[in-house]
Symmetry: C2
Amino acid sequence: MVGGGQLSRMTHQAAIALGVDFGVLAAGPADSAALVCGNVTLGDDRGLQDVLAFAKANDVVTFDHEHVPEPVLRAVEEAGGLLRPGRDPLRFAQDKLRMRTRLTELGAPAPRWRAVASPEHVTAFAAGTGWPVVLKAARGGYDGKGVWVVDDADAAAAVVARAAAEDVPLLVEEKVAFERELAVQVARSPHGQVAVYPVVETVQRDGICHEVIAPAPGLSEDKATRAQQLAIEIAHALGVTGMLAVELFETADGVLVNELAMRPHNSGHWTIEGARTSQFEQHLRAVLDLPLGSPRTDAPFTVMANLLGGEDPEVYRRYLHVMAVDPEVKIHFYGKDVRPGRKIGHVTVTGDDHRDLLERARAAADYLRGDDQ
Amino acid sequence: MVGGGQLSRMTHQAAIALGVDFGVLAAGPADSAALVCGNVTLGDDRGLQDVLAFAKANDVVTFDHEHVPEPVLRAVEEAGGLLRPGRDPLRFAQDKLRMRTRLTELGAPAPRWRAVASPEHVTAFAAGTGWPVVLKAARGGYDGKGVWVVDDADAAAAVVARAAAEDVPLLVEEKVAFERELAVQVARSPHGQVAVYPVVETVQRDGICHEVIAPAPGLSEDKATRAQQLAIEIAHALGVTGMLAVELFETADGVLVNELAMRPHNSGHWTIEGARTSQFEQHLRAVLDLPLGSPRTDAPFTVMANLLGGEDPEVYRRYLHVMAVDPEVKIHFYGKDVRPGRKIGHVTVTGDDHRDLLERARAAADYLRGDDQ
């Protein structure tokens, strides 16, 4: 797996049970996965030489991020490296303009959008949708970076000018009056086998996925089925191998596709405890073309909350407190130094009452961050 | 953790989520845990120098086997090393004569027994219990090794002579007419906090734990409570820290203590999927004096079956088949070369009907071994 972050760390855990030889290409020895994995290659996890060498040393290469540049992916495939997902589907995850264009061709429901080359493109677009609108960098954004909600033509012009100066292609999307945000994950293997997980509710804060409730409480069966079908259709149409996460807006009428990610995803961390097959195991099964595992859930609800760093870098005492207060909370630490706002782990709780679970997951996350003190 | 076997490998998985710095002292780089862990010390996992150096390099030392000789344990403690469990409780796990003596003092129900220094001791004992009787090496036995069921005085004399030649102390136990074998696990922390798991049924074959059904179907609440209380009492009385497994015989009247193990145990592998807190996570929490996790179960039943090697060392094709036939079977491979009869992994299935689960777990294990072909 290229990249040594927490997704790679948790994939390593799954690889142990499967008995799969798992290696990581990590930028440094203190990377989340590099701290725990027995087979670590240190190198530039976006650079041509290092990714190429890593691909030569491994039968299959997959990714814990989408930041390996297209020319690098191309060179690896041309040298005979087996990328899963491959360069072709990854282009859609790396470039929102390509993604939007392809989804429009497929007839997938989505926010209205257009490519932006000038401030006038934005004002013309907003004349149809109304202000505010959402400007997005087509490439390089994640976790809320590269997304700007603009209220008027002046604000839009400022973003467009800055993007032009940095040579970043832009698109504009309508700001959807959604009821809530949802996500659905599907695994697809090279054989074409798919396994789809229940649709979950995601609670975003500052552009970062904060909490996940699985399955999304009160979601109509129509919308749930539609969302799952959409994920399967997109996975097939784009030729995805491995996990695909489809982030969605729920509106009164249905669901709209917001973003795609072709890797294990924060919205699927709940599957470690909540589903028979975790997204990490499923990703491995899919990219290795093994038969997929069951995505079935046991408990009625599973709630996940991200652990973000607070002001105090010392979390040990608070960690003990959280464990003692609620022995059913499952804690996942990523081995990262604590910095304010940094994702340092997550907690998961399973049970019957999603309100109770959310309260408990939040209490653990808030306490660990130091908010209650 | 001293020892690089599968118990260490699965403890490593649990350490990743807890964010605990976990290192292994393994005899070789191909040891089950050494293959996957990022922090491996190669050395003699029973030898004075290497265990001493390992203890100096780590805050807390625990074990995946009971074979570190007592003088080594003593030297480590005298040098200030923190062993959990400590030398004191470990003596009872290492020496069945000590264990039987202590359990008798505690009034724990157990098979009748006595120390054996001559063939006459056995015949005198059998005069009270009837033949056959069970001779056991007091030290060094595991997985059925060091246990002999003898039918008469001649057979007993042969075992006694061989043991005397090898300087192995012996004891004799009555052969209990048990209804089935049970096991119960308890975690105890240095604080004295305990967490006890449901009593399970274990199915032994050739002295090796083959299958585990959790909880033991149809076990009366009286017996279940008695078994759990026994485990807690023994853990406290012996000063155990970490996981304690108590293997039991169920008889018409109650339960009898058969064996003790002070580490994660084969009878607890089901907890990875079947309980909120796996025995591996619980062992780490206990030996690190962290608050213990909930041993609660979600599914009504969990069944575990060991995967033993068959004649054919190539299991890949059969592995695919097992995954494809039953996508709900959870496979755990230990990274070991396949040899006939060797434990190479285990499978776990959770659900409502323990008969169905046992059938499915057996089918997977049998197919993987090559029995169906």
